[in-house]
């Protein structure tokens, strides 16, 4: 699986992911859930994160401890510039580290590396190197 001038291959089994604690969560489906208020809070956190890469810890905790559905997650996050860096894990929103250089360059490098190998002999097929933003299509041309 790997070529190296002087070493033997090593295989590690990954560990099972841990899950978040749901004991003190607020359920998005619960009677007390206030969607407009939560959306406003999410927007506030997103904008703070987008602009400064930092989020006030109390706001982060509130957003990330709220149990939401996939539908609501998509409603909140789709078409945001940094949507790729927001994940839903077991019903909880997770803000990952926003991209910083050379994130996009590495993505472009890997895309080119893979694309040239899985694309067959079509020399006209190339990839857009911009793949750092979920809202911008990146296609073969």
């Amino acid at each position: 699986m790997v070529t190296r001038r002087q070493s033997t291959a090593r295989t590690n089994e990954g560990s099972v992911a841990s899950t978040t604690n749901s004991s003190n969560s607020i359920s998005a489906t619960g009677a007390a859930f206030d969607l407009p208020k939560f959306k406003k809070l999410f927007d506030q956190v997103y904008n703070q994160w987008f602009q400064t890469t930092l989020i006030r810890e109390d706001l982060r905790k509130t957003v990330e401890s709220t149990d939401i559905s996939i539908e609501l997650f998509e409603k909140l996050t789709l078409n945001r510039q940094f949507q790729r860096y927001i994940t839903l894990v077991d019903g909880r929103i997770r803000f990952d580290e926003p991209p910083s250089d050379p994130h996009g360059e590495i993505v472009g490098c890997v895309i080119e590396m893979i694309s040239t190998q899985v694309g067959g002999t079509n020399s006209q097929a190339t990839f857009s190197m911009t793949s750092d933003n979920g809202s911008i299509p990146s296609r073969c041309f």
Binding site: D96, E97, D101, I106, V110
Partner: protein, 172 residues
Amino acid sequence: MVRFLQDVSNNVDCKLNNRSIKRPDASYTIKPPHIPNRRPGWMKLKPNGIVYPNIVVEIAVNNQSPTKLLNDCERYFSRNTSIRVWIGITYWRAGRKFWVGWAERRRGGVGATMHTEMDWPPGHCSIDEQTDIIYSIPMATIFGPNITIPPNISQNLLIDTDEIRLEILNYV
């Protein structure tokens, strides 16, 4: 010739289970014309009717926890997806170190079997030293059972870690 795999970076959502969504940095999905009329049982559909990607790529730069990267890798290989291969790269700017690995679905069908020649952070490789590591991922692993690999595609996907290292060096 139509490309066999398409980049679906604009179609980023990977529903991992009923309560989890992850958006990879890049992903490769088999185009419909190359899927047999009778779709192989292992190949699963996303809610939008498109099959799950065969390859997902995840890049982490700077402080993102390596544990998080590994846990996310595990999640990609949930029983609800048909992702075949995960390629992960992490780069730590302050330490000028990087790590590259890949994973495939476990034989049991759920979870990841990781392949790496590099120590896991913080002991990962310096970007200033040549690694001489080229991962070779079998195309049969990538395409999956009952999918014909076009004859013009090589048998293995090569991931040259030095090429990635040099790319990083260009920008730091």
